[in-house]
Amino acid sequence: MASVPRKRIQERLRDPNDPFVITPFPRDAAIGKGSVDLRIGTYFLTAHRSSVPNIDANEPTQTASLFDEERVQPGHRTVIHPGQFVLAATLEYICLPQDLCGIIESRSSFGRMGLVSATAAWVGPGFKGCPTLEIVNLGELPLTVAPYVEACQLVLLEASEDDKRPSRYQCSVRPSFARLKKDPYVSMWSQVPEGDDTSDTEPN
């Protein structure tokens, strides 16, 4: 997998017949060597403390009740406290064709302040939407973040993928909760039968 050269990114984005689209169109300075800087959008989902004792990974849809939706208007800011976990989405809507994929990385200038804006950052071929950013403040001080700040970058890699199944989060324009409920294998693993009593792991 090779990264996509800057010039090639610019050519492809300017070609109206190319299925590779980033809208709003990034400014020149945002297109780097093999990457495109992306801005944070205006929607934030902020986890709040509650009386729920835990989240069952087999029931990820219950996470919706543990988050507050915040729409921060342009010109305003939101605060991310130390250790706080926030979901946001990029302003940019990205369409990757089958021959491109990407990884979302924090921009180092924000990373140095403790703001990590990506786990599970893979953007697969054929993806369409505003990727969800999983943001954590790993620093010691609260950080204020404004919408439209270029806080992360999409590193673009060449791919050759025939499978056209859409992403589970296809066409999302705002941060999404986990949609694992649609994955039958997640609940299956919680029903694995217990092993034999004479297992080798028993202590002597």
Binding site: R14, P16, V21, T23, P24, F25, T42, E69, E70, R71, V72, Q73, P74, H76, L91, Y93, C95, K128, C130, Y148, R165, P166, Q170, C171, S172, V173, R174
Partner: protein, 502 residues
């Protein structure tokens, strides 16, 4: 009359009565404190309010403080009055402030609650502001546009005289529209010319308050009704079309009266306002205005007439006439023709049928007004057309602007900007809306297939619901991108230039 002056407070003490000035003021202070606390609670979450709602909140808090201070100042003036006169004055003043407190509680607080950013489609705010300013022209200075949602399954608009200096506008938020008194020979759109060189007075300041059903917060395609019909009311008020037209229709009935009170023909005035707003809506945003009305009212009894609104079938028929007069029936576009033909069938005979009143006792009233106006609808449409000359969203623009947008939205990509030669320009809001409606009506299987549903098998209820939600989201995103390109990037460029030149 003998009164015992012995009370629990001691001999000779008169107990305070509810008619006592001090008691009145105590109650008023309590009301004031509670309303002020409620406003303070909203203010604590100030950053969740969009700009228009923040302006409304600030004006209300400031105005209320001022009213209360004015009352305190007046009270000290009354100290020198005889007791009865003092009491009467205090009762009057307290009553005035109490009326404002009630109006704030009943109308302003619900608006502020419903205007929080998570209760409204925030991306629509800038679209509405732009639409309102275009609709109002230079007739009014629009102080603020407030969009909120509530649990009324209806869209509403209120246009009130707004002055931050006084709270007179608060009762207006609740006020029902009054019937105008109009002198038929006066044309309100003509400016009086007396050769004077004095500067024209500044236009009156207005507050525009728009509401949408809260259950349909993100149904942005339905919100075409706001962008079309509700803003059509503003255009009607600005150009005084329905008001003047109504006066002309009833003038022969006025039997030589100089001024005609439309209050005697309430149904006539109301129905003409609605027909006029519908016509303005079609001129402003094209077929999207009609599609939204039909979709909102589809499950509602359509062939029923109320005192305030003609039956939906009559409105559809009238809007179809407007579309035809604009040239939309001559486009040779099968997809559009198919939709308009279907609506023709739906509204067949609507303008000829008899009255079916919602309230039986209103039959006579409605019939009387309908008989007066039924032959004048074409004239009304002509009047609206005259006001919109050169600005209508006609079929030429529809054809040139929406095809790329339809293709983009059907492929699951927002259409907020497009290449115009070498330049990227923002898409127009009405192109986005109309394209989205065409996708909803004719290309939904394509969008469903992008989402992973097999359109060859046929899309089921779940697929339709998911696709419609995504389509609404794509439209909101398109608005956001268009605004970003038009305003934010422009601001950013000017900042950069300033920085470089500085």
């Amino acid at each position: 009359m003998s009164t015992s002056n012995d009370t629990a407070d001691g001999p000779g003490k008169v107990p305070p009565s509810l008619n006592d000035a001090a008691q009145l003021l105590r109650v008023l202070d309590e009301h004031f404190a509670q309303v002020e606390t409620a406003l303070d609670r909203v203010a604590q979450d100030r950053r969740t309010l969009p700009r228009g709602a923040r302006d409304l909140l600030d004006a209300t808090r400031l105005g209320l403080k001022r009213e209360h201070s004015d009352l305190q100042a007046k009270l000290s003036e009354f100290d020198g009055f005889p007791a009865n006169r003092r009491l009467a004055r205090i009762v009057k003043k307290c009553g005035d402030l109490d009326a404002i407190l009630r109006a704030i509680t009943q109308s302003v607080l619900p608006v502020l609650e419903g205007a929080r950013a998570h209760r409204i489609p925030v991306e629509l705010e800038s679209v509405l502001l732009s639409g309102v300013r275009k609709s109002a022209g230079d007739r009014w200075d629009i102080a603020a546009v407030v969009l909120y949602t509530d649990y009324d399954f209806n869209y509403k608009i209120r246009l009130v005289d707004f002055s931050e200096a006084s709270l007179n506008w608060v009762p207006s938020l609740d006020e029902r529209e009054r019937h105008a008194v109009v002198t038929p020979s006066t044309s309100a759109s003509e400016e009086p010319s007396d050769g004077s060189e004095e500067a024209a007075p500044p236009p009156p300041t207005k507050l525009v308050v728009l509401s949408a059903p809260s259950t349909h917060r993100d149904s942005v395609l339905l919100h075409s009704i706001m962008l079309g019909h509700e803003l059509g009311h503003i255009r009607d008020w600005r150009h005084q079309v329905s008001q003047q037209f109504a006066a002309e229709i009833v003038a022969p009935e006025a039997k030589g009266e100089e001024e005609v009170s439309l209050g005697n023909w309430p149904v006539l005035g109301s129905w003409l306002r609605e027909f006029s707003a519908d016509a303005f809506a079609v001129h402003a945003i094209g077929p999207a205005a009609l599609f939204a009305l039909v979709t909102l009212e589809l499950a509602h009894p359509q062939r029923v007439d109320s005192t305030s609104h003609p039956g939906t079938d009559r409105r559809i028929a009238n809007m179809l006439h407007v579309l035809s007069e604009l040239g939309y029936r001559d486009t040779d576009r099968d997809d559009l023709d198919h939709q308009l033909n279907a609506l023709d069938e739906m509204s067949d005979g609507a303008l000829e049928r008899s009255i079916r009143p919602r309230a039986a006792n209103a039959r006579g009233l409605i019939e009387e007004s309908w008989e007066l106006m039924r032959g004048h609808l074409e004239g009304l449409r002509e009047r609206v057309k005259g006001c919109q000359a050169g600005t209508a969203f006609g079929p030429d623009r529809w054809l040139s602007e929406i095809d790329p947008a339809v293709g983009s939205l059907a492929a699951g990509v927002p259409f907020g900007e497009f290449w115009n030669g070498e330049d990227l320009v923002e898409a127009s809001n009405r192109a986005i809306l109309n394209a989205a409606w065409m996708v909803r009506l004719t290309r939904l299987p394509d969008l469903a297939s992008v989402l992973g549903y097999d359109s060859e098998v046929g899309i089921d209820k779940e697929a339709v619901a998911h696709s419609l939600r995504v389509l609404d989201d794509l439209v909101l995103k398109s608005f956001e991108i268009a605004r970003f390109r038009e305003q934010v990037l422009e601001w950013h460029r000017s900042q950069e230039n300033e920085f470089k030149s500085g």
